[in-house]
C-alpha cells in the first residue's frame, strides 16, 4: 500500500495505521468511544493481506493478557479501549512493564469516574503517567492532538516500545477519536518475518529454536535482593527515556506574557483562545506536552522564565497541573481551568478563565 491521503475518524485512522505500520496482532473489546478501532480492523481483514491477527476478546482483561502473551513472543501487538476498560487492563499493563515487553495501548478517554459518560475527557492523566497499575513503573505516554498524530503515534509508539522494551500508551480523548480530519496514511511497512523477530528479540518466548537456552517471560522474583536489582534496572531505563524521548510543541512562547499548557485536542481549542486573547492585547504562548511521560519539565521551566502566569487547561479537575507546578517551582502563579463530565470548553471560556485566573 502506497502513502494515501484520506478523510477519516481518529479511531478508524488508528486501525489503518496499525496495519500499515506492520502490527502483528490487535486484541480488543468494544467500548464507546473507541469501538471503531476494532470494527475498522475487522472490516479491513488484514489477516488476508499483511497477516495481522485481529481478535475480539471476551473482556478488556483477556485482551491485555493476549497482548502480554503476544508481546512475550516478540510480536508487535496492541490493544485499545476507553477509560473504564483501561482501568480493567491495569494489572496486565503492570505485568507487561515489569516483564520489559514492548506493546502499544490506546486509551480514548471518556469522562469518569466509574462508568461515567461516553463524552470526551482527559481525566486518566494520573492513571497513564503515574503508574495506573501496581508497582514502580512507567509507560511512554503519547498525547495526540490531531487525527494525523493518532496515525503517527502508532508508528512512534511501536518504535519506542521496541527500542526500550517498554509498553507505550497513546492517551487520546473522545474528541480526537471521533472527529474526522484529513490524514496522510503511511506507506505499508512490511511485518517482520519470524526470523527477523527471533533476531531482533532474542529474549522472546516463541520456541527454543537451534538449541538455544530457554526463554522465560516473567515478572516474578521472590528474592528481594534480586527484585531490587530488577527495579533499579527499570529505573535506569526510565531515566534514559526521560533524557532521550521527551517531546513537546511550543507556539509563540517567545515574547508572550502568559502561558497556556494543554495537551491533546484541548491544545487546539487553546490555540484559538490564544488568537482571541491576542485581539484583546493579551500575549499568550502555548506549550503542548506531546509525551506526558516523560513530561517536558525542563521545557516548561524554560518557557515560564519571565512569564507572569500559567493557565493549565485540561478536561479534568486538575491533574497535569501538578507536573506543571513542579516544573516552575511556584515561581509564578499556575492555575487550572477545565470542564468535567464530558463537556468541552469553548475558546471563549478559555479566554475568560485566562482573564479571571491569570491576567486579573
Amino acid at each position: 500500500m502506497k502513502e494515501e491521503v484520506r478523510l477519516m475518524k481518529g479511531n478508524e485512522a488508528i486501525a489503518h495505521a496499525a496495519i500499515r505500520y506492520g502490527c502483528d496482532g490487535y486484541f480488543g473489546y468494544p467500548i464507546t468511544p473507541q469501538s471503531e478501532v476494532l470494527e475498522t480492523l475487522e472490516e479491513l481483514m488484514p489477516w488476508e493481506t499483511t497477516g495481522m491477527v485481529v481478535l475480539q476478546a471476551e473482556s478488556e482483561v483477556a485482551a491485555i493478557n493476549m497482548v502480554y502473551g503476544g508481546a512475550s513472543t516478540g510480536k508487535a501487538v496492541m490493544t485499545s479501549s476507553s477509560s473504564p476498560g483501561v482501568s480493567l487492563k491495569q494489572e496486565g499493563i503492570s505485568y507487561i512493564a515489569a516483564a520489559s515487553l514492548p506493546a502499544l495501548i490506546l486509551n480514548v478517554m471518556r469522562g469518569g469516574p466509574g462508568l461515567g459518560t461516553i463524552q470526551p475527557s482527559q481525566a486518566d492523566y494520573f492513571q497513564a503517567t503515574k503508574g495506573g497499575g501496581h508497582g514502580d513503573y512507567h509507560l511512554i505516554v503519547l498525547a495526540p492532538s490531531t487525527v494525523q498524530e493518532m496515525v503517527d503515534f502508532v508508528g512512534l509508539g511501536f518504535d519506542l516500545a521496541f527500542k526500550y522494551c517498554n509498553p507505550a500508551m497513546i492517551l487520546a480523548d473522545g474528541i480526537v477519536g471521533q472527529m474526522m480530519e484529513k490524514v496522510v496514511l503511511p506507506e505499508q511497512r512490511p511485518r517482520r518475518t519470524d526470523e527477523e523477530i527471533r533476531k531482533q528479540c532474542p529474549w522472546a518466548a516463541n520456541g527454543r529454536k537451534d538449541g538455544r537456552k530457554r526463554n522465560v517471560i516473567t515478572s516474578l522474583e521472590l528474592e528481594s535482593s534480586r527484585m531490587e536489582v530488577i527495579n533499579h534496572k527499570l529505573q535506569e531505563r526510565y531515566r534514559e527515556i526521560e533524557r532521550n524521548e521527551t517531546r513537546w510543541e511550543e507556539i509563540d512562547v517567545e515574547g508572550a506574557d502568559y502561558l497556556i499548557v494543554a495537551f491533546g485536542s484541548i491544545a487546539r481549542i487553546c490555540a484559538k483562545a490564544k488568537e482571541m486573547a491576542a485581539e484583546k492585547g493579551i500575549k499568550v504562548g502555548i506549550v503542548r506536552p506531546i509525551t506526558l511521560w516523560p513530561f517536558p519539565t525542563e521545557a516548561i521551566h524554560r518557557a515560564a522564565q519571565g512569564k507572569k502566569g500559567i493557565l493549565c487547561v485540561e478536561l479534568n479537575a486538575g491533574q497535569m497541573i501538578e507536573d506543571v507546578r513542579l516544573a516552575v517551582h511556584d515561581a509564578i502563579p499556575v492555575e487550572h481551568f477545565g470542564r468535567l463530565g464530558g463537556i468541552i470548553p469553548s475558546p471563549e471560556e478559555v479566554v475568560v478563565a485566562l482573564e479571571e485566573k491569570i491576567v486579573k
Binding site: D24, M66, S72, A205, R214, N215, T218
Partner: protein, 253 residues
C-alpha cells in the same frame, strides 16, 4: 556379578526426562505436580516438540513450572493463562502452546478466560491440576473443594449454603463446541500415571493436527494443604474426589 555389569544402557528401565532440569523443585514431598511435570517433559521430548513448544504457567503452586521444564515459558497473571496462550498460538501457529493451571487459576479467577479460550477452539492444550485446594497461599477453599472438606477458609468444612457447590469446570468445557478432547485423569498409581501420559500425548497430537482445544484435568493431591501423609492423601483422593470428579474421557472427537 559386578555392579558395573548391571549399569549398562540395555538394562535401563527408567530415567529422568531430558527436559526436566536438575534443580530442586519447590513442591512439597508427595505433591502431584512433580509427576505431572515429568510426564509433560517426557511427552514434549518424545514427540520432538522441544523447539516449538511454549508453556504458560499460572499463579499458584505451579507458578515456577518454568524453572523445571526446559522449553520456552510465559508466566501469566492469575487466571489469564488461556488468554496469554490464545495470542501465542494465533501469532505462532506452528508452535505448540500449553497452559498449566490449578483449580483456583482455572476455575475461580480465570473462569472467563478458560471458557472463552475453549469456546473459540483455540489450538492449545489446557492442563488443569485439580487438588481441591489453594496450595500456594496456604490451603484455602477452591471452587473444586468438596462439600464438607476442611480448608483454611472453611475450617468447619465447606457448606453449600455458605460456599456453594464444587465447580466441575471440566464438564463445562466438555460441552463447548471448541473443545476436541476433554479428559480427567490422575497420577496416584503407576497405571494412572501411564494413562495421564497417554492423555497428554493425545492432547499434544490434537494441537499438532490443529483440532482445537484439548483439556486434560488431573485430579491431584495436596497432602500439605490436606494435612495428610502423601500415602493417606492418595487414599483420600481415591475415596472422596473420584466420586465428584470421575476419571475418564468426557469428550474425544
Amino acid at each position: 556379578m559386578d555392579i558395573k555389569d548391571i549399569i549398562r544402557p540395555e538394562n535401563k528401565v527408567y530415567c529422568k526426562p531430558e527436559l526436566l532440569d536438575e534443580v530442586h523443585m519447590h513442591y512439597c514431598p508427595g505433591c502431584s505436580h512433580g509427576v505431572i511435570h515429568k510426564l509433560l517433559a517426557e511427552v514434549i521430548a518424545e514427540m520432538g516438540l522441544t523447539d516449538r513448544t511454549v508453556g504458560v504457567s499460572p499463579v499458584g503452586c505451579a507458578v515456577f513450572a518454568y524453572n523445571y521444564i526446559d522449553v520456552d515459558w510465559v508466566e501469566a497473571a492469575h487466571g489469564r493463562a488461556p488468554a496469554v496462550a490464545t495470542a501465542i498460538s494465533r501469532l505462532w501457529p506452528e508452535d505448540v502452546v500449553f497452559t498449566y493451571q490449578g483449580d483456583g487459576d482455572m476455575s475461580a479467577i480465570g473462569t472467563a478466560e478458560s471458557i472463552h479460550a475453549a469456546n473459540r477452539g483455540e489450538n492449545i492444550v489446557m492442563v488443569f491440576v485439580n487438588n481441591a485446594i489453594y496450595g500456594m497461599t496456604g490451603g484455602q477453599m477452591a471452587p473444586t473443594t468438596l462439600v464438607g472438606q476442611k480448608t483454611a477458609t472453611t475450617p468447619y468444612g465447606r457448606r453449600v449454603d455458605l460456599n456453594g457447590h464444587p465447580l466441575e469446570i471440566t464438564n463445562l468445557l466438555a460441552i463447548l463446541d471448541g473443545t476436541c478432547y476433554v479428559t480427567r485423569q490422575s497420577v496416584h498409581t503407576p497405571a494412572a500415571v501411564r494413562k495421564t501420559k497417554a492423555a497428554l500425548k493425545k492432547a499434544f497430537e490434537n494441537a499438532l493436527a490443529k483440532k482445537g482445544t484439548s483439556v486434560v484435568e488431573v485430579v491431584a493431591t495436596c497432602n500439605s494443604g490436606w494435612k495428610m501423609s502423601p500415602e493417606k492423601a492418595n487414599d483420600w483422593m481415591a475415596e472422596h474426589m473420584f466420586e465428584k470428579y470421575p476419571l475418564g474421557d468426557l469428550k474425544n472427537n
